[in-house]
């Protein structure tokens, strides 16, 4: 039965090539657009190496500090991460980072370098691929050794194709010895950088004790849990810890913050920071963002779907006499509806396949144009499954109404071909 439907569907598609063309253009453009957006979101929600252990990671970034006169949302100070987040139960590994920007002129070329200032554990949590040498260790960090890791791009800018190991790099007033070269990471991922050096070098005693109102701010931290299933209990422990934080001055009354997954952090950045947000840190931003994206997807699909319905309805009316004959020979409405939905699904899945190819081409272009530097986008298996699902939803959405209309055509009139539905 299904084989007959498929065969019939194929014949119908070939019979009216112009209609097939119109439908396919609509379906493939719609799906290609969604796939490109999905692939880019997927890349950031499930980033490649060095985020191999992402499922076990939590991030602590901006916190809200509430004082009598004003509210600030900032990345907190080293002491907050060190004294309050590090000892939370369930934390296997813990790393604190900050960042800074340096302008240098290697070989007379102006270069802006993003420096990630990290501890030694950072390299155990994120598994960077090393082209040369190795990362610095936690001991290097504790001993304040003047060592640095540079990215592939930085090596290219400074030394061309030559090895960078043992050479030095000057940032501001300090000079570091290069111990490793890491492969470039997409600069839209928060872990990316041009150069990394130990965090202890810049830390003053005040920075070490400061929580939110003493010493320098701008620190973030990453928690690596033993198991992904431990994350909720760590998040609960984090919330329970917040009221116990003691501030240097009595000016700050309380703080709000969250330990979030990578996607949660990005969702918060998407929604922005509002100092009047009373629920800051307490909201499930990831779910909120997914709900918003789904609503947008449906909204975007509505117009092409209605368009396909209209084209389909016209096509059915054209086939009125065929349907009349089938009905006269005893085909049930269900059989006719089934046949038409299969026909439409075949159409949308072909359109989906073209959409995947189109999307892959656009993603290749986005990758090579460097719109997201160093990021390599593809329609991967996850995105392809999503595409298949979306094609099916699209096919059903646009097939059901015309099929129902078709099944209701009166036999006599359809046989005469004079339908005025």
């Amino acid at each position: 039965m299904l084989r007959n439907y498929l065969l019939l569907a194929w014949k119908v598609l070939l019979r009216r090539k112009f209609f097939t063309f119109i439908s396919l253009v609509g379906i493939s453009l719609t799906l290609a657009t969604m796939l490109v957006v999905t692939a880019i979101i997927d890349y950031h929600a499930n980033p490649p190496r060095p985020y191999t252990k992402q499922a076990r990671m939590l991030f602590v970034k901006s916190v809200m500090g509430k004082s009598k006169d004003f509210t600030t949302i900032n990345e907190p100070h080293y002491g907050f991460h060190d004294k309050y987040v590090r000892p939370l139960p369930g934390v296997e590994k813990f790393s604190i980072q900050t960042e800074s920007t340096f302008i240098t002129y290697p070989n007379g070329q102006k270069t802006t370098l993003t420096a990630k200032i990290v501890d030694g554990v950072f390299w155990e949590i994120f598994d960077f691929e090393f082209l040369e040498g190795a990362p610095f260790t936690e001991d290097d960090n504790q001993q304040r050794r003047m060592v640095a890791v540079v990215s592939e791009k930085t090596r290219q800018r400074y030394f061309g194709d030559a090895s960078a190991l043992g050479k030095s790099i000057t940032l501001g007033s300090k000079t570091y010895r290069i111990v490793g070269v890491a492969r470039d990471v997409a600069s839209s991922l928060s872990v990316s950088g041009d150069v990394w050096y130990p965090v202890s070098i810049d830390l003053t005693p005040k920075d070490r004790t400061g929580v939110l109102d003493e010493g320098a701010g701008g620190f973030t931290s990453v928690i690596l849990a033993n198991n992904a299933s431990d994350l909720p209990s760590i998040q609960a422990a984090f919330q329970a810890m917040l009221p116990t934080v003691k501030f240097a001055s009595s000016n700050i009354e309380y703080m709000q913050a969250a330990a979030e997954t990578n996607f949660g952090v990005q969702a918060q950045m998407f929604f922005g920071f509002d100092s009047e947000d009373k629920d800051y840190g307490k909201r499930d931003n990831a779910t909120r963002l997914i709900a918003l994206l789904m609503a947008l997807t449906l909204g975007f699909m509505a117009l092409p779907a209605i368009n396909l319905v209209n084209v389909n309805v016209s096509r059915i009316l054209e086939r009125a006499s065929e349907i009349g004959v089938r009905k006269a020979f005893g085909a049930s409405s269900t059989a006719l509806v089934g046949q038409f939905i299969v026909e439409n699904l075949v159409l949308t899945i072909i359109g989906g396949a073209i959409g995947v190819l189109l999307a892959e081409a656009v993603l290749l272009w986005i990758t090579s144009a460097g719109i997201f530097p160093n990021a390599v986008f593809h329609v991967n298996a996850r995105v392809a499954v999503y595409a298949l699902g979306m094609s099916a939803v699209f096919g059903l959405l646009s097939g059901v109404l015309p099929a129902w209309k078709m099944a209701r055509l009166p036999i006599v009139q359809s046989l005469k071909g004079g339908i005025n539905a």
Binding site: I22, S23, K68, K110, S173, K206, D207, N310
Partner: protein, 417 residues
């Protein structure tokens, strides 16, 4: 061609035809309404940005370099007085450089992504952006003063955070917001007490000494909102020290001069760190940021409209083939080819009219959404453009099928099965 009046007399009949088939036309109208909304937002975005771009910026950014200067995070805290002395030294070193014309401290530079907003009263209207600047700012940016005067040394009397009176220069937009048509010079802008702001701020009075024509901080694509310049004297330890320096360079200064300038700055204040960009580069960055959102949005909208257009061609074509017999009868009764074109296109145009009326009702709700303020003129213009665009789109879609219908020979059509 000659009997257009006859064709136009058919118009009520066309609407009647469409109305009689309202159930089967409902989906078509829905699609056209959705297409109209897409077209409206495209027109709104394009017209808004195109019209805003043409307005004067209110300042000159060419040959102005932007230096971010801040004390390093790691630097042990030095006394405020020492910091102020190095800040002052930085400015005098910069002014001593042969390629530099002027230098001024400023808290928010043009084209930057940061805001410093304050709200003097309830309602979006009274939100004002503030930038804290030193005396030389007006000449560095070449602002246009329309009333009163710019800051001068006599304003030192109002210095410091303890002073309850602050002298400010506002733009014409802010002058209209706070004082309407009255003369703002010498008048005070104050906060409404009891709105949850700090007690100190509640007492502060912002005394207007001058009005400038406009200052569109965002970029050419941003509208002119309320803007206020507050004066600071960096040598006064109780007043605010902005973290950026704008430097007006002599025309023709090479970009490579940056490295030399940076070295000079680092020698002057070793505990500070500096980043130098040009306002032209900042502007480019700001524009790119807008294009990054705008171009994909417009591309997607274009895809949607192409999809709709192709779909319409299909539907009209289909309805023409299905009604060959009816058209044949019309031809047999003396309808000319032009009459048939008019009839086929007219039907779709009638359908579009229904959709446009419904779409206009939806579009009328848009000003109620407070997400973005658009001038009424732009809004009205976008509606006109979208309506015209919609008729052009549907007419184009019906053009080819109508030609097809026109070629029908009555004898063939009447035999058509």
């Amino acid at each position: 061609m000659l009997n257009f009046s006859k064709n136009f007399s058919q118009i009520p009949q066309l609407f009647k035809l469409v109305w009689n088939r309202k159930r089967s036309n409902a989906l078509m109208v829905t699609e056209l309404v959705a297409a109209f909304m897409v077209l409206f937002f495209v027109c709104l975005a394009v017209l808004h940005f195109a019209l805003t771009y043409r307005l004067p910026l209110g300042y000159e950014y060419e040959n102005v370099w932007n230096i971010q200067a801040y004390r390093k995070q790691s630097a042990e805290v030095e006394s405020t007085a020492i910091t102020r002395q190095s800040a002052q030294r930085l400015v005098s070193v910069l002014r001593g450089l042969p390629s530099v014309e002027l230098a001024s401290f400023v808290s928010t530079t043009p084209f930057s992504f940061s805001h410093r907003m304050t709200s003097f009263n309830r309602g979006e209207k009274y939100k004002t952006e503030i930038s804290i600047v030193t005396n030389e700012f007006d000449k560095t940016m070449n602002l246009t003063l329309t009333q009163g005067r710019w800051f001068n040394a006599s304003d030192d009397a109002y210095n410091g955070t303890t002073s309850t009176v602050k002298v400010v220069v506002i733009n014409e937009c802010a002058a209209a917001t706070f004082f309407g048509k009255e003369n703002p010079i010498g008048r005070d802008i104050t906060y409404i007490p009891g709105e949850g702001i700090g007690k100190d701020l509640e007492r502060t009075r912002y005394r207007v000494v001058g009005v400038i024509s406009s200052f569109r901080k965002g970029s050419e694509f941003d509208q002119s909102g309320n803007f206020m310049f507050e004066r600071t004297n960096i040598l006064d330890t109780t007043s605010f020290l902005p973290s950026q320096i704008l430097v007006k360079m002599k025309p023709g200064t090479a970009a490579s001069y940056e490295e030399e300038m940076l070295k000079k700055l680092e020698q002057t204040a070793p505990n500070w760190s500096f980043q130098i960009t040009t306002l032209a580069a900042d502007r480019e960055k700001k524009h790119k940021n807008l294009y990054f959102a705008l171009i994909p949005g417009l591309t997607i909208a274009a895809f949607l409209l192409i999809t709709v257009g192709l779909g319409l061609v299909g539907v009209v074509w289909q309805s023409v083939t299905r009604r060959m017999r009816e058209l044949g009868v019309r031809r047999a009764f003396g309808a000319t080819r032009q009459d048939i074109y008019f009839f086929v296109i007219g039907e779709l145009v009638a359908l579009t009219t229904f959709a446009v009326v419904f779409g206009l009702f939806l579009v009328a709700q848009v000003p109620l959404i407070p997400f973005y303020e658009v001038p009424t003129a732009t809004y009205a213009l976008s509606i006109c453009a979208a309506v015209i665009g919609m008729y052009i789109l549907t007419t184009l879609c019906a053009l080819y099928p109508s030609r097809l219908a026109g070629t029908v020979q009555p004898s063939d059509a009447l035999r058509y099965e």
